[in-house]
């Protein structure tokens, strides 16, 4: 994976010192909260319900054991012994003191990490496929391109005060594991008819209040123009994105209001102009980045496991992903124990995962947008040993992509913007389905919960989505069906009137019953919904 050189290290260190100064000026009263807020946000520091919250960037979701271990140490040293992995492949800490923030950033910089641009109206941490560089089905490893864009977007002088936040995802497989088209810019690395590698640009997707699927605006950008094209996309947005209304400020609204065609025309014009401006990093830079992501020294070995232990066999079936080398798999560590808090891990668990990565996965880990952790390169021969250790550390839940693998944002338990709690729903639903034993029968079912319209829990993209709303001071939940963040991307539709907490849990059970009654061979919940439409579900939920 990528290693900082002196320049990268210098940049991060400079930022730590800059932030230390800013925090000091705030504490001395030289900065008002209004002035300080965007500065702390650009270093990932929020003020949440109970304390400051720090969000640490995990560029394209990739990290090594030392970094993971440091994240565990920070949880113990500065927080209350745990961290929360987010749907943006980052980690956040809930109980941070402003006085400590600069020291945490300094600790992070020792392991080549930071919290730069994890919030604020700037280009956020770049996300990617969590199986990048390991999966059997990718064209190339997307991460060198993501790293190129990471450097370009870090401290970008022109794009630090955009109309609104800006999220970029880069993938390089037909299968979309990064919700690419629900990003402000989604980039798919593709091969054209001439056999050259380039980038396909989708712009103007997003979730939030007005969810939209990004239209494609360019099917092939040559690799030596990638950064320049992105710069064109951003400049048009910075100049013309709406600033009169926070809720209409995302690029999806600009693209929607202009129309994809007109937006594209403006980008192409800006791009043509920028091509002469020397914006693109020299081509050798990309070649410098690629070897950092080269394959580790894989060895041939057994290609199957001993399935005599049914618990182990179930975990293998559910929690591993096919690797490009047939003696390996990518193993997923579920952070969704039954009744647990999705995405939370203790300092101890984080260090355990770090140690296991070192032992079994060439020192590498990934964070998934579904709030789980991947050990990308595990020898099939080592799987049983790995699983045994995971199980002992309560990290062995065999529930990937099932109804127990729920995405839930922090919601009203932690988040200042929330309308309702998300976590208790996730806990109760996973307990209920685990107990009834229906989880296996339901197969792949993606349930996603957000505590407010900001949609951090991706509810628009859930096969089943739940959105917390405020109904006269009481928590209320809207149910929606039919969303997907994958290559068959679609936005979920609301079933009808909302429910209280008990009601929405019942409602989830009801819609799964409709699915079981109506499904045809091999259909997932989503497929059945797409075939039969909303009405049967509505009828079951609300009567005629």
């Amino acid at each position: 994976m990528y290693k900082y050189d002196n320049y990268d290290q210098q940049m991060v260190d400079a930022r730590v010192e800059e932030f230390r100064g800013q925090a000091k000026r705030r504490l001395e009263g030289k900065l008002t909260e209004d002035q300080f807020k965007p500065l702390r946000l650009m270093n990932g520091l929020y003020l949440q319900l109970h304390a400051y919250m720090l969000r640490v960037a995990i560029p394209y979701g990739t990290l090594n054991s030392a970094q993971m271990s440091a994240l565990g140490d920070i949880a113990d040293k500065y927080d209350r012994g745990y961290g929360h992995f987010t749907t943006r492949q980052n980690i956040q800490y809930n109980w941070i003191k402003l006085e400590d923030a600069a020291d945490i950033l300094a600790d992070l910089s020792k392991v080549e990490m930071h919290a730069i641009q994890t919030s604020g109206n700037c280009i956020r941490n770049i996300s990617s496929d969590h199986f990048a560089g390991a999966t059997h089905d990718e064209l190339v490893d997307p991460r060198p391109y993501a790293e190129l864009l990471r450097q370009w977007s870090s401290f970008h002088p022109e794009f630090t005060y955009l109309p609104r936040k800006f999220k970029i995802a880069v993938i390089a497989a037909e299968k979309d594991r990064a919700a690419m088209r629900l990003h402000d810019i989604g980039i798919q690395i593709v091969k054209n008819d001439a056999g050259e590698i380039g980038a396909r640009f989708f712009v103007g997707g997003g979730m939030g209040r007005t969810p939209m699927i990004a239209p494609m605006i360019r099917d092939f950008v040559p690799l030596d123009q990638l950064v320049t094209y992105a710069e064109g996309c951003l400049r048009v947005y910075n100049r013309y994105g709406r600033r009169d209304n926070k809720y209409k400020a995302r690029i999806k609204i600009l693209v929607h209001e202009l129309g994809a065609e007109e937006y594209t025309r403006q980008v192409e014009e800006e791009f043509a102009h920028l091509l002469d401006q020397g914006v693109e990093p020299p081509r050798p830079e990309l070649e410098r980045l690629k070897p950092f992501f080269a394959d580790p020294p894989f060895e041939d070995g057994p290609k199957t496991v001993d399935r005599s232990d049914p618990d182990f066999a179930l975990w293998v079936d559910r929690n591993t992903h096919r690797h490009k080398h047939d003696s390996y798999v990518s193993a997923v560590i579920s952070l969704k124990p039954v009744g647990g808090i999705p995405g939370d891990a203790t300092g101890e668990q984080i260090r355990t995962m770090a140690r296991l990565a070192k032992q079994y996965s060439f020192d590498e880990l990934r964070v998934m947008h579904t709030q789980n952790i991947v050990l990308p390169h595990v020898k099939i021969a080592d799987l049983h040993a790995l699983w045994t250790e995971l199980d002992a550390a309560e990290l062995g839940a065999p529930n990937l992509d099932t109804i127990e693998d729920i995405i839930a944002c922090p919601g009203l338990d932690y988040c200042a913007l929330a309308n309702a709690r998300s976590i208790p729903l996730a806990q109760r639903i996973s307990e209920r389905f685990d107990k009834s034993g229906k989880t296996a029968e339901l197969g792949e079912l993606k349930l996603k919960i957000s505590g407010c319209i900001n949609a951090c829990g991706h509810h628009h993209a859930g096969h089943i989505g739940i959105l917390g709303v405020d109904k006269k001071g009481k928590e209320n939940y809207q149910l929606s069906l039919g969303g997907s963040e994958a290559e068959d991307v679609s936005l979920a539709k609301i079933t009808g009137p909302g429910f209280d907490e008990d009601g929405v849990i019942e409602a989830v059970e009801t819609v799964t019953d409709v699915y079981i009654a109506q499904r045809e061979d091999g259909e997932r919940f989503l497929d059945t919904y797409r075939r039969i439409g909303m009405s049967p579900f509505k009828e079951a939920l609300y009567g005629k």
């Binding site: 705030r26 909260e33 319900l49 304390a51 003191k97 402003l98 808090i341 009203l412 338990d413 001071g473």
Partner: protein, 99 residues
């Protein structure tokens, strides 16, 4: 009644206005009547509190203070999903007070 809350600038801790200082216990909160703006402006300028705001609350028969909105009750107690991290780790029933 109207009470004031905010966060401690340095630590971020949730605090409530007691009439002459800030306390982490909502039960210490006092009714500020129509003085809210004045107190908040003064206290914020002195950096004794960060992003203060006023809210409605009720004083219950036992003298305890109950904020009107669930969000402020969550702030007053702590995360309902981590009773061990709330201000009342020994009394799980405190969660019911929030909801």
């Amino acid at each position: 009644m109207k009470i004031l809350t905010g966060n401690d600038l340095k630590t971020g801790a949730v605090v409530w206005w007691t009439g002459n200082d800030w306390s982490i216990y909502v039960d210490d909160a006092v009714d500020v009547g129509d003085q809210a703006e004045e107190i908040m402006a003064r206290e914020e300028a002195a950096r004794r509190v960060n992003v203060p705001y006023s809210l409605d609350a009720e004083r219950e028969d036992d003298g305890k203070v109950r904020p009107a909105h669930i969000k402020d009750r969550v702030r007053a107690l702590g995360p309902t999903v981590r009773p061990d991290l709330t201000l009342k780790p020994q009394s799980p029933e405190a969660i019911d007070w929030v909801i």
